[in-house]
């Protein structure tokens, strides 16, 4: 926490020196860009940490400004009621934002572009409402004539209220990055599919990011009313919305302070140059386009790269290790059963009445030619693809077409065919995420100690002398070689100790030594937890090494079940693999 406090104290001191150094008018001007900067920090939060781009964030800024102005008018600017009203306004807007994001991202993870356009439509509609209802908003002329907050002079002491907001928001955003909640947000941007399999409803994670963005932007809007003494439809317009995005992009969306500096720097430059250079706005748009194409991390990323080149390393303190609470996935019981499962993808009929009965414990190998429906079966079990008919049961519980994020709490962990790990996050951060999967409850995400949790299953895997991940804790997980990634993904999957472990070609791309290690780790996990493990595999030597029952799939149906030698002797299986009469 030390460095965060130091950075923000320096920020506060620098801002507090502005009136003394450059006078009250400059402070007033910088105050405006600081408010815009806080609003842009909201955009940065949604974009950099939520992975989606709100193109109409001024809607929160403007609506909050109108609402705050009306409360100021009604109360004559009295301090306490207005402070409470400001929080209430931001809270209500954040709740609306949460609902909107949760709806639009419900059931599909690729609606980001659509979400951007919806926020853009919102800002156009609200601006139109503000213009066409002059009895409420004052129309084009704006809403004016209200007292500023606590009678603070916009050209005097109000500046210090703005600095307080800036420091509070910056401190919170930087602290968030160190909390489990911040880690989950970064994981969301890095690898949404894996986060879902770790039991997170990602539409709700995005909704929280958007709610945070709306809250911050709205708070800036409430102070904007006092600062300007008038609120016009431009405060909720698409021009301001676009500028918020430009400031966040150019300043750097990935750093909590990037958008703030972007807004102040571009704002001050524009104020100076707009009247001298008629083509200044074209230059700003050009810079934005170049940032998007060539330097997606913005100025903050360039600074960070420069600092790394000079040998400055950011050291992040690690919380003390402690045992994690028990996992919800470990408590699940019941055998997995598929009954007459039919699944089409477009015109292709993949699963055609698949019936599988799994034991509650043990290992089952699934083999079958390409296109037999092996991976699709796993997708159906975890809810990644919807069945047209049939049922999937866990004991007595029907989990047919349940959402993906519900699979882990039901006791199901899935390792993908192409290993998915959180690239861009360090190995340590990957393991921290895995250790809180299936265990953390709402409050734990705001508690730094949660990052010290140790999952017993994961700790066992990491402690195995042959597992080559020790000593790589600071490495970017996306830069690990394939064999390491396979092992890491196995670790991510077993950390929550799922009672049903689905492994899709866990040894693909591995050397013989790594393959032997993988077999040992799988058998060890099964023996330790008594779980049921399903392994899709093409390598018959590996199937023999696992010494398990074998299920042969063919054309979306169950062709044969039994021990490996029994299945080998089965003429139907031989016909599928070697050709011949059917």
């Amino acid at each position: 926490m030390g460095s965060i406090v130091a950075v923000n104290a320096a920020l506060a001191l620098a801002l507090l020196a502005v009136p003394a150094l450059w006078g009250d008018f400059m402070a007033w001007q910088i105050g405006l860009y600081l408010l815009y900067g806080v609003a842009a920090q909201g955009v940065g939060l949604a974009w950099g940490r939520g992975g989606f781009l709100p193109l109409g964030n001024a809607v929160f800024f403007g609506v909050a400004a109108y609402a705050a102005a009306m409360v100021l008018n009604a109360t004559g600017g009295a301090l306490l009621p207005n402070l409470l009203a400001m929080l209430a306004i931001a809270g209500v807007l954040a709740a609306l934002a949460w609902g909107l994001a949760a709806l639009v991202f419900h059931g599909r993870s690729d609606s980001g572009p659509f979400f951007s356009l919806i926020t853009l439509a919102l800002v156009l509609i609200v601006a139109q409402l503000a213009e066409t209802n002059p009895s409420i908003t004052g129309g084009f002329n704006g809403y004016a004539g209200f007292a500023p907050l606590a009678g603070l002079d916009p050209y005097g002491n109000l500046y210090y209220a703005i600095v307080a907001l800036v420091v509070a928001v910056s401190l919170s955003l930087m602290a968030l990055d160190r909390l489990p909640a911040g880690l989950v947000l970064r994981a969301l941007v890095a690898q949404e599919g894996r986060l879902q399999l770790l039991g997170f409803a990602t539409n709700r994670v995005k909704a929280w990011a958007f709610a945070g963005a709306a809250f911050i932007t709205a708070l800036a809007g409430t102070l904007y009313a006092s600062h300007q003494g008038i609120v016009t439809p431009q405060a909720t317009g698409f021009v301001l919305s676009a500028e918020l995005v430009i400031w966040a992009a150019v300043g750097g969306r990935l750093h909590p302070l990037g958008a703030l500096f972007g807004a102040v720097a571009i704002g001050l430059l524009s104020a100076e140059l707009r009247d001298i250079l008629p083509w200044w706005e074209v230059v700003v748009a050009m810079i934005f386009l170049l940032v998007v194409l060539l330097a997606p991390g913005g100025a903050a990323e360039l600074v960070a790269r420069g600092a790394r080149a000079l040998g400055w390393q950011r050291r992040i303190p690690q919380p003390a290790p402690c045992p994690a609470p028990s996992s919800r996935a470990a408590g699940a019981t019941g055998a997995l059963r598929l009954e007459d499962v039919q699944l089409h993808a477009g015109a292709v009929h993949i699963l055609r009445g698949l019936d599988v009965s799994c034991p509650e414990s043990g290992i089952l190998c699934v083999i079958g030619p390409n296109g037999a429906g092996k991976t699709t079966m796993l997708k159906a079990i975890t809810g990644a693809m919807r069945l047209q008919s049939g049922r999937i049961l866990l004991g007595e519980r029907d989990i047919t077409n349940a959402p993906i994020h519900a699979a882990l709490d039901a006791g199901i962990g899935r390792k993908m065919q192409i290993p998915t790990v959180f690239g861009g996050l360090s190995l340590t951060e990957n393991l921290q995420l895995a250790s809180l999967a299936g265990r953390a409850r709402a409050g734990d995400f705001l508690h730094p100690a949660t990052l010290g949790w140790q999952s017993p299953a994961l700790a066992r895997l990491m402690a195995h002398p042959a597992v080559p991940l020790a000593g790589l804790s600071a490495r970017d997980a996306g830069s690990l070689p394939q064999g390491h990634r396979q092992l890491l993904e196995l670790g991510l999957t077993i950390a929550a100790e799922p009672q049903i472990l689905l492994l899709d070609e866990p040894t693909a791309g591995m050397s013989p030594e790594e393959t032997a290690l993988m077999v040992e780790l799988i058998r060890d996990y099964q023996a330790q937890t008594g779980a049921f493990v399903l392994v899709i595999e093409h390598d018959m030597a590996l199937v023999a090494a696992l010494d398990a029952r074998v299920l042969v799939l063919h054309q979306g149906r169950n062709l044969a079940v039994g021990r490996l030698d029994e299945v080998r002797a089965n003429p139907a299986v031989a016909a599928v693999y070697a050709g011949g009469e059917k």
């Binding site: 709806l103 639009v104 419900h106 853009l120 439509a121 156009l124 083509w279 700003v284 748009a285 050009m286």
Partner: protein, 283 residues
Amino acid sequence: MEAALLIGLNAAWQIAALALLALGLAIVFGLLRILNMAHGEFVMLGAYAHVLTAQAGLPPWMALPVCIGFVGLAALAVERLVVRHLYDRMFDSLLATWALSILMREAVELVWGRAYRNVPLPVEGVTQLGPVGYPSYRLMVIALIVIVFFALWRWYRRSLTGVRLRAMVSNPALARASGINTARLSAMAFVTGCVSAGLAGLILAPVLAVEPNMGLDALIRSFFALVVGGLGTLEGLGIGVAVVGGLQAGLSAAFSQTAGYLGVLILAILFLWRRPDGLYRRR
């Protein structure tokens, strides 16, 4: 009876205008999976072709070749410099085209100013349809759109280029392996989509307020039509513009412009939530 006919004609006009606006966005999204945020700005450029023609002292009918050349060149430059590097990266292409749209708005504002421009109707007068008189230009536009859509649909299903395009949409790698030059085909599709947007601006300029920010409205309304109908097919586009154009015309007539807009927004959110693939889904 008269009132019903008038309402029907107004709805047909709204739907036809929306279909014209949305076609370019549907082409670019359907064929390239790029949500072109600068779509509206290409509509705007098309509308400014009238201004450009008048400034150059050319006769008004020259606006058509000027529009195709002007918008086509702009689209070609955009494809070469920006979009080409962003195929298969939907989010990045959204952001880059958004940045581009701001650049285009600011550039047009710098050159032609922020003032509204009036574009005269090329065909004045009213056509009597039984008891009701309706502007002839609107009737011509409606007829044109019906013909263009039918021709386009036939062409996409029957022609060799249509087959190549459909191959590229369904499997770009296999299409390349089969000897289809997808880079050229993509560039062609992008330019065609943008020119179609420009022509929509050219044709609708007399009935729209021509100014640098006019593109936003065109983009939003086209996008909603595609969400409701189903992104990426001509059939979906047809259904979407009918529903969205009809709803907006109805709500606007009954309440206000804002109500029409709001109703369409809510419909689009409901669709994204409950039926993200839209109304038309190819089996």
